[in-house]
């Protein structure tokens, strides 16, 4: 599904040069004469749940699988343009924008030596579409694809449901699985894509058998076409990938060349233990927590051994106001709440300065982001003015503001919900509570277990909640979060936002294939959102990584963070040689 390059780092970003405190390597990366060899010991916070590319759900698995699987198209890490990988070129798109035709490279091979053909691509799509395969979200993501067929063994054609400019990216992002490995008995051979769509009840025996074995038997031994091959997974200890020496892309133009022999992802559940391991040579590469970056990695010794990289991670944290709630129905109240949230100070204290205040749901460094929006400052006076305008005042001297809503006298009391295990959100909630207390607003905080929290949020059972969205650096599509149709059925529009003008803009945007026109549409969208403040947008965070200095070619990329696949170690500095036995 998502591009393989994206899975190389756990966080993504853009615009390296804008980041403060960023220490890029002095040595020039690039050029021939890069030596092969050595191992990279990377940190992984917990075991991936499983390594089946379709059914896995967690970031750890994504990272690992990103080295193993490839797709038809990929994004250039520097220009962010789509470019062909397993395909020979970008697809031919029909006039009505509904049909995409891809020609597949003839020289691509899977890691067991077998050739990669259109059959494998078609199989991969069918596996996604099969309702019994344990990948409901992926299936929803590919909802727009309605049919596919092979025009010849190396040409595949897809039909999509409606014109949507992101379809090319979606189709180009299908991870190509080897049919002969994942479906050795070719059970899906006679099933066509349309038959699989929504057909749950009436599926043939073959399909059922396929789904069962696909879900169960492939969780620990992935096989793809990428430059790194799965070697071992020692539960609770590490996942090891080794370089596929017979990689089809070796020596070819425009394709990432793998230099390092081994990637060892060491599983250490505890960030402190991980830092200790880094310092004592047990790890070469890990993400640092803000405090670790600021306070525990400043020694001379550390600086001489490791280089630190700071970059933005696309994703923002926000306070979601339940737009149907009697108190928060009024946009003046929501605006007031934003004036009362000292976001700059939160970035300084809660994020330790590693972040940036944002005012819109679009990624800050994308062209679609409206830089002309005036960021709401922390201004309690203005907030109180707005609240007075909305009818709030302390009429009974008990220290709490109150108002008459729907004929009833209502004190300004509400509850902020957030999930446990997240220190940032907890800090935001407590800070907000403290601030509001001083102005006569009584907020209670309620910390819930993640699944319970999600349940409540999806069913709109909250007054206010703190959550985050993580995105990619690719073209945004705000439909899923802001369109009114997405408020029902546990959709992503959890605050129940409903604005017909916005709905129209979001729909038009999806059909628009001209980037310039898309930007204009989203400008209008953001202006409306800024006025209505359905969320109080908080900030995007910066991520920090430390890399052992013997690795060359390390740089922060526009595509998001670091790409270990580009790294290499000069022979004289290599630390580990050879390969481990199985």
């Amino acid at each position: 599904m998502t591009m393989s390059w994206k899975k190389l780092s756990l966080v993504m970003c853009l615009a390296v040069s804008l980041t403060s405190g960023c220490k890029t390597r002095d040595r020039p990366s690039a050029g021939p004469g890069r030596s092969e060899g050595d191992w990279l010991l990377a940190h992984m916070l917990s075991d991936p749940e499983q390594l089946n590319p379709l059914t896995s759900n967690d970031a750890g698995a994504s990272t690992v699988l990103g080295f193993i699987f490839q797709s038809l198209l990929t994004r250039d890490p520097r220009t962010l343009e789509l470019k062909p990988l397993l395909a020979e070129a970008r697809p031919v798109i029909s006039e009505n924008k509904l049909t995409y035709t891809f020609k597949i490279r003839r020289d691509a091979l899977f890691q067991d030596g077998r050739p990669l053909t259109g059959e494998d691509v078609l199989f991969s799509l069918k596996a996604i579409k099969c309702p019994l395969v344990n990948a409901p979200f992926l299936r929803v993501y590919y909802d727009s694809v309605v049919d596919a067929r092979l025009l010849d063994p190396f040409t595949i054609q897809f039909d999509t449901r409606e014109p949507y400019f992101l379809n090319e990216s979606v189709l180009g992002g299908i991870d190509v699985l080897p049919r002969h490995y994942y479906d050795p008995d070719d059970l899906l051979h006679n099933v066509t894509v349309p038959k699989l769509i929504g057909a749950e009840g009436s599926l043939s025996e073959n399909v059922k058998r396929f789904a069962e074995q696909f879900n169960k038997n492939y969780t620990r031994k992935p096989l793809g076409s990428g430059p790194y091959r799965f070697f071992k997974w020692e539960t609770g200890q590490e996942v090891i990938l080794e370089r596929h020496d017979a990689y089809w892309g070796m020596g070819k133009e425009g394709i990432d060349q793998p230099h390092l022999y081994l990637f060892r992802f060491r599983i250490i559940n505890n960030m402190d233990a991980a830092l200790v391991s880094l310092k004592s040579g047990g790890l070469d590469f890990m993400s640092l927590q803000p405090l670790q970056y600021l306070r525990q990695t400043g020694s001379k010794r550390f600086e001489s051994e490791f280089a630190k990289y700071v970059y933005f991670s696309p994703g923002y944290t926000y306070i979601g106001w339940n737009n149907a709630h009697p108190i928060f129905r009024d946009k003046r109240v929501r605006q007031a709440m934003t004036y009362l949230t000292n976001r700059e100070q939160m970035v300084k204290t809660v994020l330790f300065g590693l972040g940036q205040v944002v005012d819109s749901p679009i990624y800050y460094f994308r062209p679609e982001y409206d830089r002309s929006l005036k960021s709401t400052p922390y201004d309690p006076q203005k907030a109180l003015e707005l609240l007075r305008e909305a009818g709030w005042a302390d009429t009974d001297g008990d220290g709490l503001l109150d108002n008459v809503i729907d004929g009833k006298k209502t004190p300004f009391r509400f509850e902020i919900k957030f999930n446990s295990g997240n220190s940032t959100r907890s800090s935001v909630a407590l800070t907000l509570q403290d601030e509001l207390k001083r102005h006569g607003i009584a907020a209670t905080v309620r910390q819930l277990d993640w699944t319970i929290f999600l349940d409540d949020v999806r069913n709109h059972k909250f007054d206010a909640m703190i959550l985050g969205w993580s995105m990619s650096v690719n073209e945004p599509d705000a439909f899923q979060v802001w369109h009114s149709s997405q408020a029902a059925n546990n959709g992503s529009n959890m605050i129940g936002y409903n604005n017909p003008r916005v709905d129209k803009i979001l729909e038009a945007y999806r059909r628009e294939f001209d980037p310039g026109k898309r930007i204009a549409l989203y400008r209008a969208f953001q202006q409306i959102l800024h006025d209505e403040q359905p969320y109080t947008f908080l900030f995007i965070g910066k991520a920090v990584s430390a890399v052992q200095r013997r690795f060359h070619g390390v740089e922060v990329l526009p595509s998001g963070g670091l790409r270990p696949i580009e790294w290499w170690v000069p022979l004289s500095e290599q630390k580990y040689t050879g390969r481990p036995e199985a």
Partner: protein, 358 residues
């Protein structure tokens, strides 16, 4: 089993029951005997002093650490904000409008007399996160600028509260079940003993984590669950005592006289059976405090805006450079638990008649 063998076995397990004085009413004379023996144990007395000290701190927490002053002269009038806050909490007082929702430290009053620690445990100060221990913040601050000393002082209230309520719950359950089992014997005993087995076999900590992690965090839930999983020891001791005492003459006499079962159990037998249970109670309080700190350490069981010793320790885990977050609350837990253990062990020794006179 004969009474002699039973008492040998019983004493091996609970370190002291009164053999030989069975039949006499263990009245005031008995407990003063115990007290005298207790007093001779220096360690136990030290423990008792600390326990008492903790009580004082817990009760007077509001006067030791508060963001309101004891006394303030403001715009010509005198105020006693701390007392006033008590009145407001009880519902019988109100804040005058000029003092509503104000930050007392910023008020321009003529005189202000603040408590030694001028913060409450939940006062957020985003300008001073992770401050080192200093004259301003004696034990430093946490990630939101909350004063650690205030947290330790107010945290004592919560820890003691949790300790006492949990043990109270397990005491109630344990005594009732143990009494029933010991008094009635036969199938009642059989059934209740199965229950003991069940409770012993359940992986309690695991159960605790399961419940605390899944349900919305609240200290009441935590206390109840701790209480409901730790009553077996008390129940067993009670049962054993009841089994022994039940066969004694004075009890047989009481039953023959027609005293109701309930009266016999709770008015005649129970007061004499309590001795070993006391030890369990004291040790139980310490154990409950330890369990709560373990749960907070894992980040479950306590609501986000409540500052407890365990929650500060949890913060220390992800911020290990901030050693003051680990050392001081950890020290507080340690000293408290140690004190209770010393008292408990001292009590056990004092209750053991064979240790007298040595």
């Amino acid at each position: 089993m004969s009474a002699g063998k039973a008492s040998l076995q019983g004493s091996a397990q609970n370190g002291g029951t009164l053999v030989g004085t069975a039949g006499s009413n263990r009245g005031a004379g008995y407990w003063s005997l115990v007290w005298r023996q207790f007093r001779r144990d220096r360690l136990a007395m030290a423990g008792l002093t600390v326990v008492a000290g903790l009580f004082v701190v817990a009760i007077f927490a509001d006067f030791l650490a508060n963001d309101k002053p004891y006394y303030m002269r403001y715009q010509g009038a005198s105020y006693f904000p701390i007392f006033r806050s008590y009145l407001v909490q009880m519902g019988v007082g109100k804040w005058p409008p000029e003092l509503l929702n104000v930050d007392f430290k910023e008020l321009e009053g003529e005189t202000k007399v603040f408590p030694p620690i001028p913060y409450r445990s939940n006062n957020i100060d985003l300008r001073a996160p992770f401050a080192d221990p200093s004259p301003e913040h004696w034990l430093g601050t946490d990630k939101l600028g909350r004063d650690v000393m205030a947290g330790v002082v107010h945290g004592s209230r919560i820890s003691l509260f949790i300790g006492f309520v949990s043990v109270g719950i397990s005491l109630t359950i344990g005594i009732v079940l143990g009494a029933l089992a010991g008094f009635f014997g036969s199938w009642v005993d059989l059934l209740i003993s199965r229950l003991f087995e069940l409770m012993l076999a359940i992986p309690t900590f695991f159960l605790l984590i399961t419940i605390a992690a899944l349900l919305p965090p609240s200290i009441f839930l935590t206390m109840s669950v701790i209480g409901m999983t730790s009553w077996v020891g008390i129940a067993r001791f009670t049962r054993n005592e009841f089994l022994k005492i039940r066969n004694l003459d004075y009890v047989t006499a009481a039953i023959a006289l027609g005293v109701s079962n309930r009266q016999v159990m709770f008015r005649h037998i129970l007061p004499n059976a309590l001795a070993p249970v006391m030890v369990s109670v004291v040790l139980g309080i310490a154990a409950a405090i330890l369990v709560e700190s373990s749960l907070s350490f894992l980040g479950i069981g306590v609501p986000a805006d409540l500052v407890t010793w365990g929650s500060i320790l949890n913060e220390a885990r992800s911020n290990s450079f901030a050693w003051w977050l680990a050392v001081f609350p950890g020290l507080a837990i340690f000293i408290t638990v140690l004190a209770y253990y010393l008292v408990g062990e001292g009590l056990r020794d004092a209750l053991d008649p064979r240790l007298r006179g040595s």
